[in-house]
Chain length 718, copies 2
């Protein structure tokens, strides 16, 4: 009997006997490579894998082969695989390394893929199964290996493989809002995993495991530092450290990007200006960029937040976003680097609806940006709310590639204690129809370039990763990192497929676990919308840290920072009129969409209070008046969390002790806080509606004054 | 064949076959419970352990029994132990639960121990071995269980046990300099493990494992927060969180303490004063203390840093340390709580030698403190240097219990990248002879109370723990947490014993590993003294973060913050004259000691420049002139690190891949930095000595200007 089989058998047995001995702290993410208990399936896998051959010897081939061996030995309880060279049952080789016969056989498949794509193909040779994993590059082949491992992790057949895949988006990055002092803006999972002080000489094992996790889902870039940037990252002292990380990530196909503080030429370059048209400034950025590429030849480029929330930018010098972005683009162009220029702008001097400002400012620039500039647009026009209609810029700049910016970290969605499955939110946005080229012009098509034929395409996710042992502060939120990566690879994947894959890879393939927990995950996004901001309410979180409710806040210096700006509750009703009678933000959408949102009768109720100021007595589709409808939605949110808790509690047999308990504690917190949201918001809005709570809605536990008095010093991520 | 044996066998085999699969991230500390490979020894253990009985059902009994089962199953590959009640081969029961027969048999042993002590005793009954672990309390019995586990971990015989042990010091605490925002003052292992925001509802598994680790070495208290305190910790919002931690720690015999910011009555109590003689202030502290004990009935008490480095204190109101300490002591007395009042004071208005000030201020108060006050004194009179003579307060306050304060975190000793085995430093201090009651009046005796008959005794270690996965930022520095705990239990243990135990429990019992690495550890402390501050040099570290050398610093606002204050290098020589001709700090020691230190001929050369300003041409004992001697010591430090590196590199066969590589990277950093220290300090001092480097000392790699120009923004712990 094979040693590894035995070990695996025993490990499995023991997991249930004495959870603590083999407690699972979640560090391994979705790369658990659980032993395949089903002996029939395991034998099927083994039959197709008795010999393995990896061609090539690049660092990428080495890490891919190491990963495959790790995964197979863990899943199959077998670590000795023969290497019969080209006669092996599994052959992993990129196109250049394929032998003549295989190259010929795979010709048409290889023509279908792009540089990062892969082919997984099973042939029958003399009645024996032979599988080839290939790609145009070693990186592509590596993605194929991870895909192959995922098939085994999710217990799929590998008998007749014919997978041809390419990522649909070119630049698939994580944005780390990590500061040099290791605090993380909007970070709820501890502190930055970048241990700047001990870099470059100490390479934390985390960096390697981070790269593995990203590669396994297809993420190919990482912006290391906060968009609210510190110019020091561009000094040699830090660039040495950045280089060390780039060296770790390179074999995994991951490029490093940095945020460029627009005023860096002043702060670290001793110049008197950062004017993008100033010769010295242009020269400074050219030289700085050259310096970076000397150290990091595959450096990805710059991400810039300019003239936004106090960050410096070209407007400080009477220039515009195009001037700023193009100046940096020129510096990068020689090295094939790109500029990701954020469109998240709104001005304290502009009294128009904040939701309109980014569109108003950027759309006129369409066509003026250099070819290596991509404009990075948040999914909605406000700021990563539990639910927002899609950003009107999508579809509206046919001559400019737009990059989607999702927020994986849950700044406004319960932070790290609320289980919210975000692929459901991402999917919703990606599938919304802009109608700019008629029906079917969905957001995903603008992002993947197919709508307007963009060559440069990108997607960014604001990371939820920190130095907590389990990376995301809560094992359930690992799903959001995973799901973001999978959607970045293929924005047409369904959230259900993603939930299924992630649960199987992370916990168990047992149907009795997968089915109910998948349902729980898929329902979790609507739950948070309901208990925080139902029916189109938005941005009513507490000040600064955004932890918990604060619909009453009205004393902040900038009007558009106050929740009252967004909900506009009064005795007549509640909601932000963005129709013609109001800010007319709807006019920024294509006519079909503008019409639908602009008419209270056709506006989806999920967006009702986003676009309309609605009377408390307005009749909703279900017959309830608005006030009752709001109250019942809050209650529904609470009930949904109760139901999540119930579901999870039945999962004890399928989950190790440590992760089971952790999720349980977090669901308790989520329930407590869902009630807090419901009670405080309803008490607040009740002042205006002057109506009783409808039957079925629980009475608040405390007074409004109590909720308003709550303070959270040192809340994280602020 | 038993399943667990098999598993263990396979795990072991695999560790060497494919290090990565079972890489060890160090999280388990010294509680690895490695499988006992030696089958003869394993059988011997098993023969004595076929049945086990735990009497009692307190939470402490539960955790002790869980720990024993975990340890035995891992070490012996056996998890099914019979329970033959009193006929079991191993019986664990505190005195009250012992049956009549055992109580009688163990009567005299039980009389010897104190409340936290334990007895491990083997009897032969009908030719069969029977072992009893007992104590006066469940906590004592738990300590016995951990001791028993350690015997197995270190492969000692359990055939004829007759261990009778009690901790020699009552209060054995870790001081966490952790802030409420999770930064850690002088923390180099990530951030605070206290996740305040998610407490009290989320109980991180770390809290439990932290308690296990502490209990295993006998630490029985933890001061949760920084001595530079924030009064908010005393508000109900935080006390709820403190209570949650106290509840986790209680079963492990660990009490929670808090730092009390002296101005708290003003900051959180709305009073206008914090005058310790003010009625309202007294009442406020009484009520606050009562409030705490209502929530945490076994709360330990307060640690106070008052009128020191800008912290508020009784002197702000014209009162003195006795007034302040006694006011808090009165509030705590009802509940049996204690005040730990720090003696680390030095004033910017006092021009006398900083080394003299604490003694001058505190010794006159001897006998005036309440019974539940203990004065906490750093090991040396300056500040946790690589080497300092013992603090002159030790021995000098016969009517006041003095608590030793060691710094486990390496503020001045290379922080978390330098492997320095601190038990060697602690041992040196504990064994220094104060001579106050004649020869043999060693520091340890003042700390354990035997010198002056103190009833309240204590020891504090400033924690080196952070949220890095391996707890201390570098697995080798786990030894310092371990060693501190062991010495707190028994200050007479030798550093060699401690190194031996720790290495065996943490890595391997293989002699080929233990012997060389033990030597490496024991030599490491002298190495850091040599490459940083040889021959009595001190406090020449860089400003603020104390990372790296800064002997040239002379521009800080307070004279005694400048390195030049301490080394006083000039053309005539170097060193601080603390003899009669200088500050006369020597006079604070007992005459025998004063005489020895005061005379350059009898002063140990390790302390030469601490007590004397010495000519560059002064002849050292080895015949070298001082300048050459200093230079050769710096070189020796570098050579010692090279030798550490050589030793470690041979250890690859005995250590898992991850920990092996980690220590290797850190030794590389240590070597690089040892050279940095040598080169920059010698270049600096050479300006005054105007002498060439002696033969055998490497030429500096850079200029002095280069070393002076180095900047470390965001260095940790600052």
């Amino acid at each position: 009997m094979n040693r590894l089989i035995l070990r695996q058998f025993l490990l499995l047995t023991l997991c249930f006997v004495s959870g603590n001995v083999f407690s699972n702290n979640g560090y391994k993410l979705w790369l658990q490579y659980n032993f395949v208990e089903d002996s029939k399936l395991r034998e099927e896998y083994k039959v197709g894998l008795n010999s393995i051959f990896f061609a090539g010897n690049s660092e990428t081939v080495k890490v891919a082969s190491k990963e495959l061996m790790l995964g197979l030995s863990e899943m199959l309880g077998e670590e000795n695989f023969k290497n019969n060279k080209w006669n092996s049952q599994l052959v992993c080789a990129s196109e250049a390394f394929l032998n003549h016969e295989l190259k010929k056989l795979l010709k048409s498949e290889l023509e279908e893929i792009n540089d990062e794509g892969f082919v997984l193909k099973t042939f029958m040779v003399h009645g024996k199964q032979k599988t080839v994993i290939t790609g145009k590059t070693d990186i592509g082949t590596m993605y194929g290996v991870y895909h192959f491992l995922r098939l085994l992790q999710t217990h799929q057949s590998i008998k007749q493989l014919n997978v041809i895949e390419s990522p649909k988006i070119k630049v698939r990055v994580l944005n780390h809002w990590d500061n040099l002092d290791r605090t993380v803006e909007r970070g709820y999972a501890g502190f930055s995993i970048w241990d700047w002080h001990r870099l470059p000489d100490y390479i934390d094992q985390r960096y390697i495991d981070y790269a593995r996790a990203n590669a396994s889902v297809g993420i190919n870039g990482v912006v290391l530092n906060n968009v609210n940037a510190n110019a020091l990252i561009l000094t040699p002292f830090y660039l040495e450290k950045v280089k060390a990380l780039a060296d770790v990530f390179r074999p995994y196909g991951i490029k490093v990007y940095l945020t460029a503080r627009f005023s860096a030429p002043i702060e670290i370059g001793d110049l008197k200006t950062a004017d993008p048209l100033d010769k010295n400034v242009i020269q400074w950025w050219n030289k700085k960029t050259e310096e970076i590429y000397k150290m990091i030849p595959d450096f990805g480029g710059y991400l810039v937040k300019a003239n936004s929330e106090g960050q410096p930018g070209p407007q400080n010098y009477g220039r515009n976003h195009v001037d700023g972005a193009n100046m940096l683009a020129d510096a990068l162009a020689t090295f094939k680097g790109i500029v990701m220029w954020r469109a998240f702008v709104y001005s304290e001097h502009d009294v128009t609806d904040r939701a309109k400002q980014a569109y108003s400012e950027f759309v006129p620039y369409d066509g003026q940006f250099k070819k290596n500039v991509v404009v990075q647009v948040k999914n909605g026009a406000i700021d990563f709310q539990p639910r927002e209609p899609f950003h009107p810029m999508f579809g509206a700049m046919p001559k400019t590639p737009l990059m989607m910016e999702f927020q994986i970290t849950q700044e406004y969605l319960g932070q790290s204690t609320h289980t919210v499955f975000l692929p459901k939110l991402f999917e919703e946005v990606l599938h919304e129809d802009t109608y700019v080229n008629g029906k079917g012009s969905i957001v995903a098509k603008d992002v993947d370039g197919s709508l307007h034929g963009d060559k440069l395409t990108g997607i960014a996710g604001v990371s939820n990763i920190g130095n907590d042992i389990n990376w995301t502060g809560n094992v359930m939120l690992q799903a959001n990192w995973y799901g973001y990566g999978r959607l970045a690879w293929n924005p047409y994947l369904s959230s259900g497929e993603i939930a299924d894959e992630w649960l199987r890879s992370t916990f168990s393939n047992d149907k009795k676990f997968v089915e109910p927990v998948k349902e729980m995950l898929l329902d979790s996004r609507e739950a948070v919308v309901n208990y925080m901001t139902p029916l189109g309410l938005h941005h009513i979180m507490a000040t600064g840290h955004h932890y918990g409710p604060g619909p009453w806040v009205s004393n902040l210096s900038r009007p558009e920072w106050n929740p009252v700006y967004y909900h506009k509750a009064d005795e007549n009703g509640v909601g932000f009129d963005r129709t013609k009678t109001g800010s007319n933000a709807v006019a920024q959408y294509a006519p079909e969409v503008a019409k639908m949102y602009g008419d209270i009768k056709t506006c989806p109720e999920e967006y009702l209070l986003w676009f309309h100021h609605v009377s408390w007595d307005y009749k909703l589709k279900d017959g309830n008046v608005l006030w009752d409808g709001i109250a019942l939605k809050y209650q529904e949110g609470v009930e949904e969390v109760k139901s999540m808790k119930k579901t999870w509690q039945k999962m004890k047999p399928y989950v190790d002790d440590e992760r089971f308990k952790e999720v349980n504690m977090f669901l308790d917190i989520q329930l407590k806080e869902a009630k807090w949201w419901r009670d405080s918001c309803l008490l607040y809005f009740q002042q205006y509606s002057k109506k009783e709570l409808p039957v079925g809605v629980d009475k608040p536990e405390h007074t409004l004054e109590y909720y308003k008095s709550l303070k959270f010093p040192f809340a994280p991520g602020n």
